[in-house]
Symmetry: C2
Subunit: 225 residues, 2 copies
């Protein structure tokens, strides 16, 4: 099946205390978004890439491409007001057949193995979502109290989330609901079962200065394959 990836890079960078939106911040000398795109090209040089960016960041992105002579071919699509609309706009730019990965632009440390597993299992099950276990003790906050929660059944969800394209397009025809925090939750809302695969712990989402420092340290010390 043909492989597509929609890279959602809609963040305005407010939590990062930076005027540069976080997906353009430098990580080991390159904008974060270059690292992210490179991973998918490394996985499959033929993959079809769409980047969803807020309209007011598109020129910055084009200038970064020019400055760095960045060679990776991709389609640019305007983002919506919220992530749900951004993904929807991305989906409108791709055909109906094949598999599509939806990936956070600020997750440059996804491993090739995680991407591979997601595409393989999505072809079998219709969808595949990477996750990692929780090692810390977990509690659930109640009105005035809190209680111990069994962490063994809980998983932290990552991206890329890979789907058969027609399934994801159908899901995004639904109206938006506040509990849609990722793409799997949109698909699940149609009654579909969600298939989990093992992600990689280094695949953090860079949303604040601490994350950026952690990402730099990981990139310097580990080879992600």
């Amino acid at each position: 099946m043909n492989q597509y990836v929609i890279i959602v890079a809609g963040g305005s960078g407010q939590r990062m205390q930076s005027v540069i939106p976080k997906q353009f911040l430098e990580l080991a000398g390159k904008p974060i978004l270059f690292h992210t795109l490179n991973k998918f090209v490394q996985y499959n040089p033929e993959i079809d890439i769409t980047i969803v960016l807020p309209e007011y960041h598109i020129n910055t992105w084009k200038e970064l491409i020019k400055t760095h002579n960045y060679p990776v071919k991709h389609t640019i699509v305007c983002g919506g007001e919220i992530r749900f609309n951004s993904v929807k706009n991305g989906l409108n730019a791709i055909p109906n057949e094949g598999l599509v990965a939806v990936h956070d632009g600020v997750r440059p440390l996804v491993s090739l193995e995680t991407i591979h597993k997601c595409f393989i299992d999505a072809e079998l099950y219709g969808n595949a979502i990477p996750c990692i276990p929780i090692y810390e003790t977990v509690r659930r906050v109640t009105d005035m109290n809190s209680r111990l929660e069994d962490r063994s059944a809980l998983r932290l969800i990552q991206t890329p989330q890979v789907f058969k394209i027609n399934l994801l397009k159908q899901a995004y025809n639904q109206s938006y609901k506040p509990q849609f925090t990722d793409d799997a939750s949109v698909v699940e809302n149609m009654g579909e079962q969600i298939h989990l695969v093992e992600g990689n712990r280094e695949n953090i989402k860079i949303t604040d200065p601490l994350d950026l420092v952690l990402a730099q340290a990981i990139l310097k010390n580990f080879e992600l394959v």
Copy 2:
């Protein structure tokens, strides 16, 4: 109230792929455990420190103290087979009055503010447990499926967990149960309400090589106060 801390350093270092147990590994030129102890001394130079170590690591610890001329006074107690027994042994070494913090030896990046909040609130509520929110999407694994979980009510639990000493001693008189993954769960099992306070995100537990790299990066880039 008098302040005590029991530092549990019972890990044998198997996940770290290292012959040196993880609490003795170097972080910025010093054993991790020195960093951890220093934090509590910085918070309160008068705090009474007990370290619980596996019997077969006590000599290594004493040699590290000699080599580094490490000046911080503390009591050394032999650990038990599991964490529950180690904490119990630590409690036997301290009096019945005052407040006691139980802290993981491999959490050197706790902030002084987190320690402070826990002691303040434990005096008011009998116990105080630091926690942080979960920013990732969370799913719950079921038999053949998984479903979206509301993350807003979930918290990741850290240490130091601070208690009135008589309360914690009473709790540790119970028989061990497998769900006792921390001290709060032991106290909760007696019917006590658990009081949560805000922890600090940097306060990670160093259990594998990735954690060690992250801890080094945090120490180098952030001033924890």
